[in-house]
Each structure stands twice: as structure tokens, then as C-alpha cells.
Amino acid sequence: MTTEAKKPVLRILVVDDELIVRESLGAWLREDGHNVDVAESARKALRMIAQNGYDLALIDIKMPTMDGLELQTRLAEAASDLSIIIMTAYASVDTAVKALKNGAYDYIVKPFDPDELSHLIRRAQEHRSLAVENVRLKKTLEASAPRIRIVGDSPAMHRIHELIASVAPTDATVLVLGESGTGKELVAAAIHAGSPRRYNPMVIVHCGALAEGVLESELFGHEKGASTGASYHHKGKFEQADGGTIFLDEIGEISPQVQVELLRVLDEKRVSRVGGTKPIDVDFRVVAATNRDLVAMVKEGTFREDLFYRINVVAIDIPPLRDRPEDVPQLAEHFLRRICVSMNRKGMSFSDEAMEALKTYAWPGNARELQNAIERAVVTGRPPTVEKKDLPRYVTDVDASVGAVARARSLKDVEAEHIHRILEESEWNISRAASILEVDRGTLYHKIKRYGLERPSGHDG
């Protein structure tokens, strides 16, 4: 949700009666990649702000007719989400401090130290992205509360709904367990949305996707300086989640070294940026998730026992779809509705045979696989009905009796069968099959060998 991609481009207004400040500061900020306008008086600034809207205004404190302080007061009423930085000479630092008390974002003394100025801009950018993120989250939460409701009427899902409802308003750490595709992130989002923290960000960390050194600075941030190779400090995910929820997905993938650090942060609720000396207090709630067997990992010694107990306060175990086939119709209808909306197709529905096929198939890839299959059917099918023939072949090839057996068989059998189907589907193109299965090619080769899957002869060419 929160990404560490490019910092946002700011819309900045420079308000100063001195030409050299407007020109040189404007040029400096533009070189830094921002959209900059200038105004030579407070009156003009008020007009421009009313017309254009800015993220940040740099305002000179000493201007004829209306000074910076008065402008700030007026803006506080008119444009409350505008960040204001007061520009001042050494002599009027006291006045600038008054401006701060009045709600100015910060102040900077002329002449500007380029380092200080660039810090101030970075901070305004961070502030901006968090504000934008909060507004976005607020909107999605308010507009789509039902979307965070997790679909499923089976007894197992009923228990999960109850668990989410009872644990969400607390600050308890939650561990979400379940196979890939069961919707662990959705459970985390539902917990966050049901908590008093919902107007603060939920920050998602995909622990498995990050390299060792990177994960540390991703989670804990880094300080600027020679030891970190960083010229600006960087807020880690815990700091970004301040006041909100941090979702640690794939927590089973983190290295022993980061496990130690993580345990410390969870205990102390303070983070130390890499290369930093003073710890920063942070207020966050943790939801973690994994598809790995953490108990087995603790026994093996690859996952710390103390960390396991620290995160396993409340466990929510999402059963695979094959164990609750009664949820398939409701889920299928839900996905169909959503996909139709997003593809701008009017109310489609499933034919009886199509629904029968969906109910029969074992869905080793769980809800995500079901969603993909329906998406494909909507793309290839013709409105208003999704027919059995529109569904992927590996779904429909299973006749009812085989499907019933499939559900009863071991996970290994189901996996072997599923891989085999996808290989057939993709005409044994390993890369394509691997990408459909969301595994790398090495893993796929390994599984093909392990399950003794073979390309049928006479099928090549």
C-alpha cells in the first residue's frame, strides 16, 4: 500500500517580494523536480492558492502591506491542508517561532543552507505522501466497507468473521495463517478497518520479496551519513505505520538476524534507524501472515521461538477452499460481480453447468485461482451468461466423481494434478506454466521431477 517508489513531485508556491529569492529559489526547487510558481506579494499568493491549490508554500516573513504571518493566518482558514514553511532572516527567528506555534510546518533561515533546504523539502514530501495515503485509505475504507467483509458462509468462515470482529478493536498482535491465495491480506485489511487505527495507514511489508540488507533499512529506516551510504534519512515501515497497522506478510521468510531486530522492536515499540543512535518511539499494531509451518520452523531452529510466541497471540487460520466447498458459489458470484464492474460488463451470471463445475473443482490455488478462472471466463465468454465452456479446461475436465475424490485426496496429489493441468494448458511451456503458478522455473522443474510428471508422447511439436 505504501510504496517506497519515487517521492512525490510537490506543487510549490514561493512568496517573496525579493526578485532574487523568487528566481533563485524557484530554479533550485525546479531542478529538484518540483512544479514551482512564484508570487511577489501576499495578496497575489492568496489569489493563486485559491485558484491552483499547492502542497507547499514557502513564505517570506517580511513583506510590505501584508506580511508572512498574516498570510499564514489567512491560509490556515482558507487552505488548511497546505504546508507552510516560513522564510526568515536571522534577526526575526523569534517571529518565525511564533509562526510555528501558529501552525506553520517549519521555518528556514536566509541564506538557505542547501542541505537544510533539501531536508525540509524531503520532509514535506514524506508528510505529503502520508497525508495522501491517509485520505486514500479513509476513502476506500468508508466507501467500501463491504469490500473488506470477507466472503464466505461456511461454518469455518463464520468463525473467522467472529474472530476478526472481536480482535479488530483491540491492539492484539494477530497471526494469519493459510495457503497462498486464501486471502490473508484481506483478513489483515479487515482487522485494520475494524480497528480505531483505521484512519492511519496500514503499511504492508512483503518480507519474502526483500533482500537481507534492504529489509533492515526498509523496516527500520536509515539515518543519513557515511555509515549508511545515505545522504538523507529514510523512514522505515514501522515509522510509516505510526498510529496504524503494519502487516508483515510472509514473515516466515525473514532471516535469523532480522528476526532478532524485529523481536526487539515488537517488545520495545521503538525503532533505531540503521546508522542512527537515538531510538524513535512508534505506535503500531502488528498483523503477520505466513503460509509456512512456523511451528515446524521453530523445531528446525530456522524461526525464533520467542518471536513466534510474540506474534502468535491471536491466530486466524484460513482453511483452504477445498475444505469449505460450500463457500465456492458465494465467492464465485462475488468475484463475477466485481469483475463485471471493473470490466464494465452488465450483470453476468453463471449457467448451472458452469456453477456445477466450479463447485466440483478442488481449487488448489484457493480464492485467487477461482478469481483468475472467473476473470478469464468473463474475458472469453459472451454476456449475459458464463457457460461451462468459458471456464479454463483444467477446471471443467474434472468430472463430478473425480472432483469429489480430488477433495478427499492429499495436498500433494492435488498439487501434482494441478501442476499437470497447468502444464497441459500451457502446452508444457515451462516459463508460461511457472508464471501462471506463480513459482519460479526452478521450483517448477523440481516439482515436475518430484511428482514424476511427463509430457505425453506425440504431443510435442
Binding site: 532574487i20 533563485s24 531542478e31 529538484d32 523536480g33 541564506p111 543552507d113 542547501p114 542541505d115 545522504s231
Partner: protein
């Protein structure tokens, strides 16, 4: 000849001594610079009448006015003039700069003052000063080639507001910035002789 802002081929670099640091430093910088570009680098002394503009009330040369004065010496197209000075350079509204150049300009100004560890109370380190100076010159020459600041950490065109940042950012152009360089700059993928690292 048009005045279109196509990057001109780089043909030579002249290091102009303006209230210059010690001669051996200038020579070391020029030698190191010539290993980073594939055109001749020479030292040139400043005309006798040349006046360094200062900022009133501050013990600093005015970077922008100094730059204009150097540009007025009129280096021919393709020949870059880099004024190297021991004086601290500043600006009426900025405390200091390490270097200054205009996009597509013909000249740059680089000050050694704040690149020297002794400025920060640290022991003298000649190799480090030379390396920082060369890197700052190459960065400013990137601006002369029309390249703006780059977000890539490994790129010499990343903005650096401190000497730490100069030390920490990359010493070469990233592929994207390198692609915008005119002929004459050492291409980033070519093996570059080692710098006099400390």
C-alpha cells in the same frame, strides 16, 4: 550552426585557475579529470584583468556572478571552461555551493574550499580532496551537457548537499544519464583507470 540545444561534442576541457588552490592540487585534479573524459584537459590561467565578484558582507565569491564572468571569456563551442577556485563560493540566498553550472552552458565553477576535509576540522587528505573535486567537476559537466539531477544512488548526477553525499553517491553516470552525454565523455561502460583512492 544553430543555437538548438543539442549536446555539442566535447572537444576539450580547460581548468581555469581563479584564485586557485595550490598548483600541485590543480595539476592532480586536471590529471585525474583527463582519465575520466576522452578529450584533452589543460590548465589555463585567468586573464590579468579578471575580477572575482564577491557577496557584500560575506567572505565568499558570488557563484552566479563568477560563473557569468567565466562564461564571458567565451570558450568556443565544444570547449568547456571549468573555473577552479580555492575561494568559498556562495549566493545571496544560499549559504554555499560546491559547484555551479547552467544547463547547456559553456562554463562551470567549482570551489575546493568545502571539498577539503580540513574545512570540517578533519586531517588533511589530499587524495580525497582531489577525488571530490574531480567528481564535482564531472557532475557540473553533466549539467553543461543538459543533464538534470538523477534519483539513482549510483549516479554521479544525484544531487549532493554535503561532502558525505558526494562521497556516497556513485562516481559514474548511470546508464540513463550516460545515454544523454555527448561524445567525448568517457562512456560509463568503458573500463576507467582507477582513481587515486585514499
Amino acid at each position: 550552426m544553430t543555437d538548438e540545444r543539442e549536446p555539442d561534442d566535447l572537444e576539450s576541457v580547460e581548468v581555469l585557475e581563479v584564485a586557485a588552490p595550490p598548483r600541485d592540487l590543480v595539476e592532480a585534479v586536471t590529471a585525474a579529470l583527463s582519465r575520466r573524459v576522452s578529450v584533452p584537459c589543460r590548465i589555463r590561467s585567468v586573464p590579468e584583468a579578471f575580477q572575482i565578484p564577491h557577496i557584500p558582507g560575506r567572505n565568499q565569491a558570488d557563484a552566479d556572478r563568477l560563473l557569468s564572468a567565466v562564461e564571458a571569456l567565451g570558450p568556443p563551442v565544444g570547449h568547456v571552461l571549468v573555473a577552479l577556485t580555492a575561494e568559498d563560493i556562495g549566493h545571496p540566498i544560499f549559504t554555499h555551493f560546491f559547484g555551479r553550472a547552467r544547463h547547456h552552458g559553456s562554463a562551470a565553477v567549482v570551489s575546493v574550499a568545502r571539498l577539503d576535509p580540513t574545512f570540517y576540522g578533519l586531517p588533511e587528505d589530499r587524495n580525497r580532496t582531489v577525488l571530490r573535486t574531480v567528481l564535482e567537476i564531472v557532475h557540473e559537466m553533466g549539467h553543461l551537457a543538459g543533464i538534470g539531477h538523477c534519483d539513482d544512488w549510483s549516479c554521479i548526477m544525484r544531487f549532493a548537499s554535503t561532502v558525505d553525499a558526494i562521497d556516497n553517491r556513485g562516481q559514474r553516470f548511470c546508464p540513463a544519464c550516460a545515454a544523454a552525454l555527448p561524445p567525448g565523455f568517457a562512456p560509463s561502460h568503458a573500463p576507467c583507470p582507477p582513481d587515486p583512492e585514499p
